[in-house]
Symmetry: C2
Subunit: 494 residues, 2 copies
């Protein structure tokens, strides 16, 4: 682990070690990778309250929330470890014929292999789950890639502590030195890490500006590398007429919780709501406003995020036709973000690109439409999102097929009658979405399919059984699913 | 279809049509997409010799070769159509619990959906298989994306003809107008197509310069889009000591054929050979030289490619320490490329980056190494490749594990005791590789897995069965493989 700003020479040493480790680590059986990840999960939980208290002191997040987050992080590690061993992500594919004695011929056999060292930039809002031992690290390790984490400066001590846990686990399991490295530093360190010749991919969770900077660094390389940057979004919630008539109270309660959860510091925070002007909408807004006014402000992650919230909120509220609907009544202290709801009419929203941008914090803007056509126009004007939600009765859904299709087209996850906050870790989860939600809509950063970000196919042509990797041998010794002559099967080739 | 240079206004019209078509086409059942592709395949073959003769006149390729290529193109269309319907590429994934009556709850359900209109730039060397109705078009259509093909100027008439076949097939099947568009134009047209807001992905097969230009155009967009550019490579062939001792005659014969096949105009042409200095190598070179001297030069695709070959060959041959080993004895006429073999010692090769670059044509360079360590150094110095081949006995393989690992790391397809030319169309094929072979090593441009380039996941959270797409409904009406609670199955959810 390195303290203070990492120098160019240090980075070269780090990346050389990672490169060396790569050649050993990628040859380890899947089970060894999985065992490493499981041991990390156990060691992380063993960090006990001491570790949690460090995180509390750095992030201002409540202990209970951080405890849950650490459990989630451990769960990610073990469930991706299971997926790593299960091996579906390897997409083992065999096309082969048989010889005159009906023995399988070598033919063509394909599987995923790791890309190489992956540089991970953690998120300020998830000191455990999307940081040092978080989702990107877990996916890269499962794929067979060494990981270099640049500590988030806002929780550098937590990151140090977690890094120690990982390094110690690696040592106990006799894993190659360089399989995991933790570095500190600023933008220049980040740039050098992304542009080092031995870096083969980048994982990032954070702001649009941060993600795009890394993306551009990667594209300036002599050999561009893939960057998966999850850059947040405004997660529009479309509230259809039937639903608002039927269920305004519950809706208002649920939306208020989702908007203010964790002081709004989630990439899935619902920053936009869209509904049609009506008495029911007025009622909903008044119910939602009540909830917001009663919400106690909570301290934000760090002064930078707080100041940015204050500034962006103020700018948003000062835009033409934007009206402040409700503000939390409790005085905000220190770095507490004030829960706020505003409203604007659809025409003004469509014309003003600034209103489409994320105000990271406990803030949401209701877009009031004249009719369904205008709601559709709003949907078409919104850029790529991690999530979109539809609050609708069955009848609403039947009557708004085109609108739903348009909404589907801008998001990675489409929620029906639920809030966007709360990202379950499971294989069917997709946490990604069209640009600018991420830099590559084809991949997810939550769920075991995130492993695929850091692997690529290799095809073995005409290799005799003895020299093939276990994954592709006739006997299928790992007992994994493989596509053999277009059929998915666990059967050996005989 | 548009003649001559396409204007900005035309492009806007084309892309608007494609965008409109996208919203209809992506909703069609997989079977309709597959039927369209199968009908295209039939219509293509029905183009008869007239179509082949146009292609002969534009490309100078032999009629028999073009007939085979067209059959391959039809096979691509039908086999990707089959894969489209089989639906494994959808990666349908369901995580769900059951209620108290043991009925499946909505939960989270994920599948691939199309990205949007795809712009395809065909290859000069494959007027059918990697052009208008080629692999990229087939993959995009299977994924549910409308396609806009920019005709390759070197075979614009063939392209027109094939485009007419596609358009007529689409009309007969009543498919949305704008599902396929054929445009002509130069670099500016290409740039405008890549940068149009409605373009969501790009497929390209061709030169490094061409691919990188498109890649950079795409990254300059406000919303960068994925570009899959297959930019060729030098396909190194590592000949190990045991093999060259055992089998020099056959090796020489096979290498000569592979080097000169189609006048060397394949992206899998073996442009580099690597072996260890020895009497056996001298013998191999003399055998190979004999074969090359007897090879009849063939006319290249067009004057541009011929001139480039002449120029690059001359520059390569004039580099320090490069010796010309053999040149075809028949006089080259008109635009015929002269088959040529050269030789250089490993140290000179490693130092001279120019020698690492493709000389597109019937040319190959033997890198002579002092020993296995130097062969390993050569392997480490070579950049990303579509393929690498290893000519080896079992003993060679046992004794060179590290070398094989290094070679594996630079290529997309690893051939044992075979030449790299000849790319089978099947699911286990991987035609891709680390940069600069392609702009994204995680995808293939041959085989049905190429469909994944043009799709992205979407996750449906809490959607009741009635409103889910067929692919994700409890009943599994399409009878596709799905990962349900981490288990691959075709079973319905009950």
């Amino acid at each position: 682990m390195m303290e203070a700003e990492t120098t160019t020479k240090d980075i070269d040493k780090v990346m050389n070690n990672a490169w060396k480790a790569f050649h050993e680590y990628r040859k380890l059986p899947l089970k060894k990778r999985a065992d490493f990840m499981r041991a990390m999960a156990v060691a992380l939980e063993e960090g006990g309250d001491t570790l949690l208290e460090i995180a509390v002191s750095e992030t201002n997040l409540p202990l209970a929330r951080l405890r849950n987050e650490r459990t989630r992080t451990a769960f990610q590690l073990t469930s991706y470890a299971d997926a790593c061993e299960r091996g579906n992500w390897l997409e083992a594919t065999i096309d082969t014929k048989h010889d005159e004695n009906n023995k399988p011929l070598p033919g063509l056999r394909k599987m995923q292999v790791p890309l190489g060292p992956v540089v991970v930039f953690g998120a300020s809002n998830f000191p455990f789950a999307y940081s040092t031992a978080g989702g990107d690290t877990a996916c890269a390790l499962a794929a067979g890639c060494p990981v270099i984490v640049k500590a988030h400066p806002a929780h550098a001590k937590t990151s140090d502590w977690v890094a120690d846990i990982i390094l110690q686990t690696a040592r106990i399991l006799n894993l190659p030195d360089g399989i995991f490295t933790h570095v500190h530093g600023g933008n220049e360190t980040g740039k050098q890490l992304v542009q080092h010749p031995y870096t083969k991919a980048v994982g990032f969770t954070g702001s649009f500006a941060g993600g795009m900077a890394l993306y551009n660094f990667a594209n300036q390389r002599k050999d561009p590398i893939p960057v998966f940057a999850e850059m947040g979004s405004v997660n529009p919630v479309f509230i259809l007429p039937g639903k608002i008539r039927e269920d305004a109270e519950t809706l208002a309660k649920n939306m208020a919780v989702s908007i203010t959860l964790g002081s709004g510091q989630f990439c899935t925070n619902p920053g936009l709501m869209i509904a049609i002007k009506s008495e029911e909408l007025d009622r909903f807004m008044s119910l939602l406003g009540e909830q917001i006014r009663l919400t106690e402000p909570a301290t934000m992650l760090h002064p930078g995020i707080y100041n940015s919230y204050v500034e962006k909120r103020e700018i948003a509220l000062s835009q033409a036709k934007v009206e402040t609907v409700a503000v939390a009544e409790h005085d905000a202290l220190g770095n507490q973000g004030t829960p706020t709801i505003a409203s604007v009419d659809a025409a003004a929203f469509i014309q003003n690109n600034l209103l489409h941008k994320e105000v990271f914090g406990p803030y949401s803007l209701m877009i009031q439409c004249d009719n369904l056509e205008q709601m559709q126009a709003v949907a078409l004007s919104i850029e790529g999102q991690l999530t979109a939600s539809v609050m609708a009765t069955e009848n609403d859904l039947h009557e708004n097929v085109l609108l739903i299709e348009s909404i589907k087209n801008i998001c990675g996850r489409l929620v029906l009658n639920g809030v966007p906050t709360g990202v379950e870790v499971c294989q069917a989860m997709h946490h990604g979405g069209p640009f600018p939600a991420t830099t590559d809509s084809r991949f997810t950063s939550v769920g075991a399919d995130g492993i695929k970000r850091f692997s690529r196919p290799i095809c073995f042509q005409n290799w005799s059984n003895d020299f093939l990797p276990e994954e592709l041998k006739n006997e299928n010794p790992l007992h994994i699913y493989r596509t053999v002559n277009n059929v998915l099967t666990k059967d050996p080739l005989i």
